[in-house]
């Protein structure tokens, strides 16, 4: 087995509520893995535990065999674990160019450099050029982010995550709230992610999950209910009951 990201018996309690209950799962290298579950299943808590926003009550998170349970968020990013957010988390006052440059500078380890001018760093410029080309942002380089349309912002969200050159990318409901017209472009850029990047997709939209994932884990009430390839999950009666049933109602 070649797990790049792994959790071992992860538990998180808030007061009396157990949001994550003994979750152990593995993300294989190069995988296209989806994490699904009904509202309140504990998906967001799990992502927060993986990325270091929350500390688990017990259990461990392993990245490439290293225990990262207690590492701060930024240190996990530098080790290759990056996420996107369900609600776009962008730097509103920056231009697209500035925000991508910020991420690239950080990746190149220049973030603490206080005296170098941004434009004098050719590696930085190359890095920015690569990302903006790949995510088709060239035309909006000078736009302030808070003035962009919603779909564009989702795309920048993913571009910014990808600009860290992640080995593991957690996509937290990337298509949430994106209008149909802008969805296509977004999904294309997700599909175009290089094969060596392992992706964990946290998603509500079954279309996207079944189109994209090669493996699916179902989370219900903070526990792993089932895991398998898409046909197996689609056929699983417990999953139907707990999740698809509910989705059909709502």
């Amino acid at each position: 087995m070649n797990a790049v990201l792994e959790t071992r018996g992860l538990v998180k309690r808030f007061g009396g509520i157990t949001a994550t209950d003994d979750v152990s799962f593995m993300l294989q290298r190069g995988a296209r893995h989806a994490l699904i579950g009904p509202n309140g299943a504990g998906k967001t808590t799990l992502v927060n535990l993986l990325t270091g926003v929350l500390a688990p009550t017990s259990g461990a998170v392993m990245l490439k065999g290293e225990d990262i349970t207690r590492l701060p968020r930024a240190a996990r990013v530098r080790r290759g674990l990056t996420r996107t957010f369900q609600i776009s988390q962008l730097c509103a006052s920056m231009t697209v160019l500035e925000m991508i440059a910020m991420v690239i500078a950080e990746r190149l380890g220049r973030g603490a450099d206080a005296l170098r001018a941004l434009d004098s760093d050719s590696r930085l410029i190359e890095g920015v050029a690569e990302i903006v080309t790949q995510f088709r942002l060239v035309d909006i380089l000078d736009e302030r982010i808070d003035r962009l349309a919603y779909g564009k912002r989702r795309q920048i969200e993913i571009a910014a995550a990808f600009a860290t050159r992640p080995e593991v990318l957690l996509l937290d409901e990337p298509a949430a709230g994106v209008p149909e017209a802008e969805r296509r472009e977004l999904l294309d850029s997700i599909a175009a992610l290089p094969a060596d990047v392992s992706v964990l997709l946290i998603e509500h939209d079954m279309d996207i999950v079944f189109r994209f994932a090669t493996r699916i884990t179902v989370l219900v009430n903070g526990r792993v209910l089932a895991e398998g390839d898409p046909p197996a999950i689609a056929a699983d009666s417990r999953v139907r009951e707990a999740y698809l049933g509910e989705a059909a109602h709502g």
Binding site: A74, L90, C91, E106, G111, A112, A114, L118, D119, T133
Partner: protein, 333 residues
């Protein structure tokens, strides 16, 4: 080609605007144009430096502080004590005051980074008040409420006496302000500065990009403390006196006002705010020494209730016209 475009864009943000040359040119020309006003200009230059210090943390990193006078005070007392006990050389005092304040910033930073904005306001305020009480209690060192007396400064660079007109003082403060402004300008346009803005705009995004927020904020807080310390050292040296009020609450509160008036997050806010605040205060207080506060208060209220838009509109138009004239003339020959 795309690379060149990106480079040009990134360079554009740190290019000098003609109005900037005008401002600094006038600041220097003031030595000859306003020889009678150099004392207040010196005070403005020091306040501007102090405000730039707050801008670094508030405008760029989003850290509020209601106790920034703590560092002004540490810098002032350090510079004053050095002048009395060790050396009267101004530059040595400036360096010492700056370093002492930086150290104070570094030490207190962990206390400040915890918590939300309101907590931060009060923790910084608390720290500065504790320092004030400390300075009052250790009267044998600081002179207590009587103030630190007996500071005499040697000539600047061994050449320029501090004169009664305030000429040396103003040029000295202006030079320090300008150099530290250049440094700040450089820093805010660096990758470091960009990462600070990311933390301010969106801490989640900054963390997701791998920005170690605590370390960056510690760095900028220490830097800002150093700037405030430099302002304090200038204050102590050019007035040759340090009193407890360098640490007082009203310094921090006025500073906040100055920066809000000028606008945070572009470095010039502190300078413009300091000019506007001091000049208005001085002008109004000349007319009505008892009730000037009322008129300043009224201006602040009107400013928030819509005056700012009107003012900015007018000034922007002026600057644009000026810039157009400037560039036309440049192109003409």
């Amino acid at each position: 080609m795309l690379n060149d475009r990106i480079r040009a864009r990134l360079a554009a943000s740190r290019r000098w605007h003609p109005a900037e040359f005008v401002l600094w040119g006038l600041a220097l020309a003031a030595v000859f144009l306003l020889p009678r006003q150099l004392l207040i200009l010196n005070e403005i230059a020091i306040l501007a430096l102090f405000a730039i210090s707050l801008d670094l943390i508030l405008g760029y990193a989003g850290l509020v502080s209601l106790g920034h006078a703590a560092f002004l005070g540490v810098g002032a007392y350090a510079a004053g004590l050095l002048a009395i006990h060790v050396t009267a050389d101004p530059l040595a005092g400036l360096a010492f005051g700056t370093l002492a304040a930086a150290l104070a910033g570094l030490v207190t930073c962990p206390l400040v980074l915890k918590g939300n904005d309101l907590t931060r306001l009060m923790v910084t305020l608390g720290i500065s008040m504790l320092l004030l009480e400390l300075a009052n209690s250790f009267g044998s060192i600081t002179g207590g409420a009587d103030g630190l007396q007996g500071i005499t400064m040697a000539p600047l660079l061994g050449l320029f006496e501090f004169d009664l007109m305030g000429r040396t003082a103003y040029l000295y403060s202006l030079a320090v302000l300008f150099l530290l402004f250049l440094l700040a300008r450089r820093i805010v346009h660096s990758p470091f500065g960009l990462s600070l803005r990311a933390i301010r705009d969106n801490p989640l995004r900054a963390a997701a990009a791998g920005v170690p927020a605590t370390r960056r904020l510690t760095a900028v807080y220490t830097l800002a403390a150093a700037y405030a310390g430099a302002a304090g050292a200038l204050l102590a040296q050019t007035t040759q006196f340090v009193s407890l009020d360098v640490l007082a609450f009203h310094r921090s509160a006025d500073l906040m006002l100055v920066l809000i008036i000028g606008g945070a997050g572009y470095l010039y806010g502190g300078i413009i705010g300091a000019l506007a605040f001091k000049i208005l205060q001085d002008a109004i207080a000349t007319v009505t020494p008892q009730y000037w506060q009322f008129w300043i208060g009224l201006l602040l209220v009107l400013f928030v209730l819509g005056g700012r838009e009107i003012l900015h509109g007018g000034v922007m138009a002026l600057v644009r016209r000026g810039a157009a004239l400037f560039s036309r003339r440049r192109k003409a020959p």
